[in-house]
C-alpha cells in the first residue's frame, strides 16, 4: 500500500506545476470554454451549450524538481542515492508539486436577443487545486537526522502548502462596447467542499555545542495548519455517506466565497488584437467545520540537568519529568475552530495577436450584427504572444508563450504554442477544435516533447470537451 502511495505521489509529482496555465485555450475563441479564461473574448457564435460533465475536462500537474524517471528509471543505481542526490539535495525550496483539475457540470452561453452586443454565459464547474513546495529541511532531517548537522538550522518555513476543492457557480457578461473594444466580467460564487492551508510557518530546529552539556537542542516554532470540511468528510467516510457530504458542501452547504473575473479584447487595428484577463479575484470565508492545528513556542534544552547544591533542596525530584513538563509548557500545541479566509489563486493573462490571411467574410458578417465590421474574427492565421502570471504562496509565477493558430474555415481550428517559464524551456503544446455541424469537439495538450518519455516529464496538461454551438445567421 505504501509503495503504491509513494508511486502515486511521484507520478502526480511527475506531471506538475504552472497550476492552471491554459495557454492553449486562452484566446482560442473558436472554443466556448475560452470565455472562462477571458470573459472579454470576441465571440462569433449565437449560443452554445456544453454537454453536461463533458464540455470541459481539464487536468494539469507537474513538478519543477524531479520526475518519476529520476527515481524509478531501471538504471541500476541505488534508489537511496537517487533520492539523496535528486530530491534531498537536488531540489530547492522553490520547487513545487502542484496540480489542478476542472470539471464543467454546466456551461451555457447565449447572445442577447434585444442587444446582440451582449453575450451571456453561466454555469457550474467543480475545481480542485493543490500546491506543496519542497519541504527540503524536513526531508533532510527525516532522512539523515540532526547528527553531523551541528549548527544547521532546519527551517520550519519549508512546509508551505495549500489546496482545496470547490464548486463554482458563475454568471458572465461579455459586451462589445464598440468596434474595437469588448469587455467582460464574470461573477463567481464559491462553495468550498474542503480546504487546507499551511503557508505562514516560521521557526527552526538547530543543534549546537552546549553551554553546560555537550549539545544544545533549540526549537523555535510558529506553525499553523488550517482546515475546513475535512473533519466532516472523514466522519462521512467512516459512515459511508461521503457522497452526500460532498454534494451538500458543494451545493452551498459548505463555506461560501465570492470572486470575479475581468477581461477585455481590444482591436488595435484590422489585424492586431490585444487581450487581457484577471481570474479568480476572490476569497472564501471558512467558518463551518473548521479545525486548525497550532504549534507555537520556543525551547532550548541540554538534557536532564542536576546542579548541586540547588538540586538537593528536593531530594525526590523527578528531573526527567520536570524536563518533559517544561518542554510541554514552552511548546504549546492546540487545536481550535477559529474561522479563517482563504484567497483564491488569482491568475492574470495577456496576449497580443497579429491576424493575417484572407478574412472569412461569412464569419466577419456574422459579427456585424454584434458590433460592426471591424471584427478580427474569420482570419485564417493568428500569430502572437501571451503572458501568464499566477499568484502562489512563494510569490507570482510567470510563463511566456508564443503561439500560432490556423483556422480552416469554421470547421477546423488548430493552435500550437511554445511556452517558457522557470520549469521548462521546451514546452510545445497543440490544440484542435472541430465543428461538425452544431457539435464542437476540442482537445488540447502541452509539453508534447516530453511524450518521448512520459516518465521523465515534469509537466503535462490537457483540456477536452464537447459543446453544441449555434452560429446564428452563419
Amino acid at each position: 500500500m505504501k509503495k503504491w502511495l509513494i508511486t502515486l505521489l511521484l507520478v502526480v509529482c511527475n506531471f506538475f506545476i504552472y497550476g492552471q496555465n491554459k495557454q492553449l485555450l486562452y484566446d482560442f475563441k473558436e472554443i466556448p470554454q475560452s470565455l472562462l479564461i477571458n470573459p472579454g473574448i470576441e465571440t462569433a457564435y449565437a449560443s452554445y451549450f456544453g454537454v453536461p460533465l463533458l464540455s470541459g475536462i481539464s487536468f494539469q500537474a507537474g513538478s519543477s524538481g524531479a520526475s518519476v524517471n529520476d527515481f524509478f528509471a531501471n538504471d541500476g543505481l541505488d534508489i537511496n542515492d537517487k533520492i539523496r542526490d535528486r530530491a534531498l539535495y537536488g531540489m530547492s525550496v522553490t520547487d513545487e508539486l502542484s496540480g489542478t483539475y476542472q470539471l464543467e457540470i454546466l456551461n451555457v452561453g447565449f447572445r442577447g436577443r434585444n442587444n446582440p452586443d451582449n453575450f451571456y454565459s453561466f454555469g457550474i464547474y467543480n475545481e480542485g487545486d493543490a500546491i506543496g513546495y519542497w519541504f527540503k529541511d524536513y526531508a533532510i532531517l527525516g532522512f539523515e537526522g540532526n547528527a553531523d548537522h551541528l549548527y544547521k538550522r532546519f527551517d520550519l518555513s519549508h512546509l508551505k502548502t495549500r489546496g482545496d476543492m470547490v464548486n463554482v457557480f458563475h454568471f458572465g457578461l461579455n459586451k462589445r462596447i464598440n468596434g474595437r473594444l469588448i469587455v467582460g466580467a464574470r461573477a463567481k460564487l464559491y462553495s468550498s467542499i474542503f480546504s487546507f492551508k499551511s503557508t505562514k510557518n516560521k521557526g527552526y530546529f538547530v543543534t549546537t555545542e552546549g553551554q553546560n552539556n555537550l549539545l544544545t537542542s533549540t526549537l523555535v516554532a510558529d506553525m499553523k495548519l488550517q482546515t475546513s470540511g475535512i473533519e466532516s468528510l472523514r466522519a462521512a467516510a467512516d459512515d459511508g455517506t461521503i457522497g452526500s457530504v460532498f454534494t451538500k458542501r458543494g451545493l452551498f452547504g459548505g463555506d461560501l466565497g465570492l470572486g470575479i473575473d475581468l477581461g477585455f479584447t481590444y482591436n488595435l487595428n484590422k489585424n492586431t488584437v490585444i487581450t487581457g484577463s484577471i481570474l479568480d479575484l476572490g476569497f472564501i470565508a471558512h467558518s463551518g467545520d473548521v479545525k486548525n492545528y497550532v504549534f507555537k513556542g520556543q525551547s532550548t534544552i541540554e538534557g536532564v540537568e542536576v546542579i548541586l547544591p540547588d538540586a538537593l533542596v528536593n531530594s525526590s525530584a523527578d528531573f526527567w519529568q520536570d524536563l518533559v513538563d517544561e518542554v510541554k509548557t514552552l511548546l504549546d500545541y492546540e487545536e481550535n475552530n477559529d474561522s479563517y479566509i482563504s484567497f483564491r489563486p488569482t491568475k492574470l493573462y495577456g496576449s497580443v495577436r497579429y491576424n493575417f490571411g484572407e478574412q472569412d467574410r461569412r464569419i466577419q458578417d456574422c459579427d456585424c450584427r454584434a458590433g460592426g465590421n471591424k471584427s478580427n474574427l474569420g482570419y485564417p492565421n493568428g500569430l502572437g504572444g501571451q503572458i501568464y502570471v499566477i499568484n502562489r504562496p512563494r510569490g507570482p509565477q510567470i510563463a511566456i508563450t508564443a503561439f500560432y493558430q490556423r483556422n480552416f474555415g469554421k470547421v477546423v481550428s488548430l493552435k500550437t504554442t511554445y511556452t517558457v517559464d522557470k520549469f521548462s524551456a521546451t514546452n510545445i503544446g497543440f490544440g484542435a477544435s472541430f465543428n461538425i455541424g452544431p457539435v464542437n469537439i476540442y482537445a488540447t495538450a502541452d509539453n508534447l516533447l516530453s511524450y518521448r518519455n512520459i516518465a521523465a516529464s515534469n509537466y503535462a496538461s490537457f483540456q477536452l470537451g464537447i459543446n453544441v454551438i449555434s452560429w446564428g445567421r452563419n
Binding site: 509503495k3 524517471n69 541505488d78 555537550l214 538534557g303 536532564v304 523527578d318 485564417p380 497543440f430
Partner: protein
C-alpha cells in the same frame, strides 16, 4: 495553406508516434532505506568543591529517572548508536564516577566507570557503543529507564583547589541511528 496543412500534420503524427515511456521499476520502493541519526544531550551533573568538602561521606550516589530510551517509537526503531560521557574536574580531589543504566526493576544493565585526577587539565571522555558491531546489546538501551550516578571522592575533605570556582562536572549525550523504513 498547404504549408499549414503540412505543418500541423507533421506535428500531430510526430507527437502521436513519439509517445512512449522508458522502462520504470517501481519495485525500487522496496529498497528505500530511511535511517536518520539523531543526537542530543541526555544528562548533566555538576557539584562544587565546597559541597564535596562538606559531605561527610566520600560517596555520592543517586538514581535519576530517564525515560527517553523507553519511548516506544525510539525503542522500536533504534538500530545502533552510542552514549558519550565526559568528566571535567577542577576540584583538588581525584574522583571516580560510575554510571549505571537501570531497568524498571532497578537491575543494572550496563556500567561505565570514569576516573579523573584532581585539577585535571583535560576532560575524561568515553564513548560507549551499542548494537551494530558492538558487543553491547541494544536491549540495554531499550530497557533503560533510569541512570544511577555514583561519585567517589578519592581525595580528602579539606583541600582547596587552585582553580577558580572549582567543580566536578559530568556531561553526556546520545547519538543513535534509527530505522524509520
Amino acid at each position: 495553406m498547404k504549408i499549414s496543412h503540412y505543418f500541423f500534420s507533421v506535428l500531430f503524427v510526430l507527437f502521436t508516434l513519439m509517445s512512449c515511456i522508458e522502462e520504470q521499476d517501481f519495485n525500487q520502493t522496496d529498497n528505500i532505506i530511511i535511517t536518520p541519526t539523531v543526537e542530543a544531550s541526555i544528562f548533566y551533573f555538576e557539584t562544587t568543591e565546597q559541597l564535596i568538602n562538606d559531605s561527610p561521606n566520600a560517596l555520592y550516589t543517586r538514581d535519576f529517572n530517564f525515560d527517553a530510551f523507553k519511548d516506544d517509537y525510539f525503542s522500536d526503531k533504534v538500530i545502533e548508536g552510542s552514549i558519550t560521557y565526559q568528566l571535567e574536574n577542577t576540584t583538588s580531589k581525584p574522583v571516580s564516577v560510575t554510571i549505571e543504566l537501570l531497568d524498571d526493576d532497578g537491575n543494572v544493565l550496563d556500567t561505565t566507570i570514569l576516573n579523573i585526577e584532581s585539577e585535571a587539565s583535560n576532560t575524561t571522555d568515553e564513548e560507549i557503543f551499542y548494537g551494530g558491531t558492538s558487543t553491547r546489546s541494544l536491549d540495554i538501551i531499550r530497557n533503560t529507564s533510569a541512570i544511577r550516578l555514583s561519585a567517589v571522592n578519592l581525595g580528602d575533605n579539606s583541600s582547596i583547589s587552585t582553580q577558580p570556582n572549582p567543580k566536578l562536572i559530568f556531561r553526556s549525550s546520545a547519538k543513535f541511528k534509527m530505522r524509520i523504513r
